[in-house]
Amino acid sequence: MTNVWNNPNGHEKRLHRHEGGNGTAGDALPGAGARSGGESLRTEPGGADGTPLLSVENLAVSFRTARGTSRAVDGVSFSIRPREIYALVGESGCGKSSTAQAVMGLLSETNAPGRRITGTIRFGERNLLALPDRELSAVRGSHIGMIFQNPLDSLNPLYTAGYQTCEAVLLDGLAKASAMRRVLELFRGVRLADPEQKLRSYPHELSGGMRQRVMIAMMLARHPKLLIADEPTTALDVSIQAQILDLMLELRRSFNMAMLLITHDFGIVSETADRVGVMYAGKLVEENEVFALFDAPRHPYTRMLMRALPRGTKQGGRLESIPGTLPDPTEPYRGCLFFERCPLRVERCATEEPLLRRLGETHRVACWRAEEEEQP
């Protein structure tokens, strides 16, 4: 595994380009120069003083639709520290993917006409939302990697896996022959069986798990500090999902990579996350360190979701289901968005919106009744 991550030449070139390209000193970027040796760019930015790698503040994303303006993300704030795996969980329509897409800069005016984004997304010292396209592209290309649910959508069917991965490697300015060797190293690093042959395989010749490994290799070619993974294993079978999760955890260890993990699956969260943010109707409703969140969820939505998961047998009792449906994101609202479905609601909830507030050192909850010990 080791030689995969060692590519001092590439690092230096890239750092150089940044300094020259936009006049920002290398150390304005997260991680640059934080440590000595060839590992420097890959280690955490200001890890020692606890500076976050990514910090999202008051992010709001809305889309103009035929029925009016639809709120996808509504004032979400969170931050991710270096090496940390932060999971955003929630059900369909909660805004978790829109949040990820905003961070990745995928909601440009051309990609998503009619969208409106406000707030700040700070990566190192830059606000990604305020960067011109070319600079954003440079930051993304060299510091933020992404993988998605369906790797087949992300791979070009007309080129071999080796060729496509090589494009990412060539950005380091390597010669063609050494680039191909590096692709091979990457393929070994992501544990692709028979990597020489996979170089020449087309996407359709690979299984779902292998395709996702190729995507990971491609992403690693750029030595990112942050990986955004949007439902990376949802389309895969359980045994293949396990292999990919193992690989992602291994990469975090050997690559010091932070992750923003978007998922609806509490099992994957249990297995991988350090901290968790639970989203509902475009808002972050609860956030905590993963053990504490599972041990003592405080928002009624989080509690109900956890009790809705089947564990054991039906003789063990009924599952909790959440009555009602998501509020219409185009309708204006007052008070708490979970009001209609909440078993704990009181009068105040109908008129005053509970904002996310700190309950403990690691814990934030958006519920008026979060402090009450005895909850049903």
Partner: protein, 324 residues
């Protein structure tokens, strides 16, 4: 598996698909379902688990006779569905019904929910004297309100749509319901609604469920018996608590070890037992199908397919490691 007269008795069921050769493709035979036998008693649930390509959905389609089997018997209440002539099938079909994964694809977008529910009654000329009563009863059983009857599918949430599908499947009072990944497309909270409705219906109407899913937690929750499929074969079957508490086949163990825990406290329990990907169905290994991925493989596994053996009363496993 249970009592003397199971409602559904499937014996040596096979479905082979011939794949014709073509550009860059060799001709061959895909043995999608290869000698599968199981029984399901009235009022009980059999969970069929397996990953993509295991043949679980093909089994469902064969039982419903949406596909004709290559060989074998499918006895529903003692009558063989595999050989029943078309006229007979129409009568036999009323004893069984189906709910698919994607409710949005199962409901006609141009019909109101009422229309969708009237159709099975009209087609089968049943309850025509008072269709309204039957429809209202069905809707109430899945905990939906009367208002949904005037709606179109797109006006309902995924969970409501799926409950309409369950209501429709119930209309003709079948005895067997085939559920093919009925909650896989749904969110957790909605999945809970549908599972609760299914549990209630079984309790009040004594329905038998053939429940197909890749989600082990869901299968464990709903099933009395569980059968695990791998590449067209059942590799392990028995009462759910035996299969889940004491999995004996390496594939079943691999599946359980691979599935993520339900709480971070169990983190690290997961491990990878099965390496690589399953082989192609067109090119199966000569001995045990799991041999190339199995951590316990011996020479015997490479040459001889293991037969089903009873490891404990009612608990059957197809693995050479199990001695009688």
């Amino acid at each position: 598996m249970t009592g003397a007269h199971p409602l559904l008795d499937v014996r040596h069921l096979k479905k082979h698909f011939r794949v014709s050769g073509g550009f860059l493709r060799k001709p061959g035979t895909v043995r999608a379902v290869d000698d599968v036998s199981f029984r399901l008693a009235a009022g009980k649930t059999l969970g069929l688990v397996g990953e993509s390509g295991s043949g679980k959905t093909t089994v469902a389609r064969l039982v419903l006779r949406l596909l004709a089997c290559t060989s074998g018997e499918i006895l529903l209440d003692g009558e063989n569905l595999a050989t029943a002539p078309p006229g007979e099938m129409k009568r036999l079909r009323r004893k069984m019904s189906v709910v698919f994964q994607d409710p949005n694809a199962s409901l006609n977008p141009r019909m109101t929910i009422r229309r969708s529910l009237e159709r099975p009654l009209q087609v089968n000329q049943e309850g025509t004297a008072n269709p309204e009563e039957r429809i209202l009863e069905a809707i109430a059983r899945v905990h939906l309100r009367e208002e949904v009857l005037h709606r179109y599918p797109h006006q309902l949430s995924g969970g409501q749509q799926q409950r309409v599908c369950v209501a429709r499947a119930m209309l003709l009072r079948p005895r067997l319901l085939v559920l093919d990944e009925p909650t896989s497309a749904l969110d957790i909270s909605v999945q809970a609604q549908v599972l609760n409705v299914l549990t209630d219906l079984q309790r009040t109407l004594g329905l038998a469920y053939l429940f197909i899913s890749h989600d082990l937690n869901v299968v464990r929750y709903v099933s009395d018996h569980t059968a695990v499929m791998y590449l067209g074969r059942i590799v392990e079957t028995g009462p759910s608590e035996m299969v889940f508490e004491n999995a004996l086949h390496p594939y079943t163990q691999g599946l359980f070890f691979a599935s993520p825990p339900t709480s971070p406290r169990e983190r690290g329990r997961r491990r990878t037992l099965l390496s690589s990907d399953p082989p192609s169905l067109l090119d199966l290994p000569p001995g045990c199908r799991l041999a190339p991925r199995c951590p316990y493989r011996t020479d015997l596994c490479d040459t001889e397919e293991p037969a089903m053996r009873e490891a404990a009363p009612g608990h059957f496993v197809a693995c050479h490691r199990i001695s009688e």
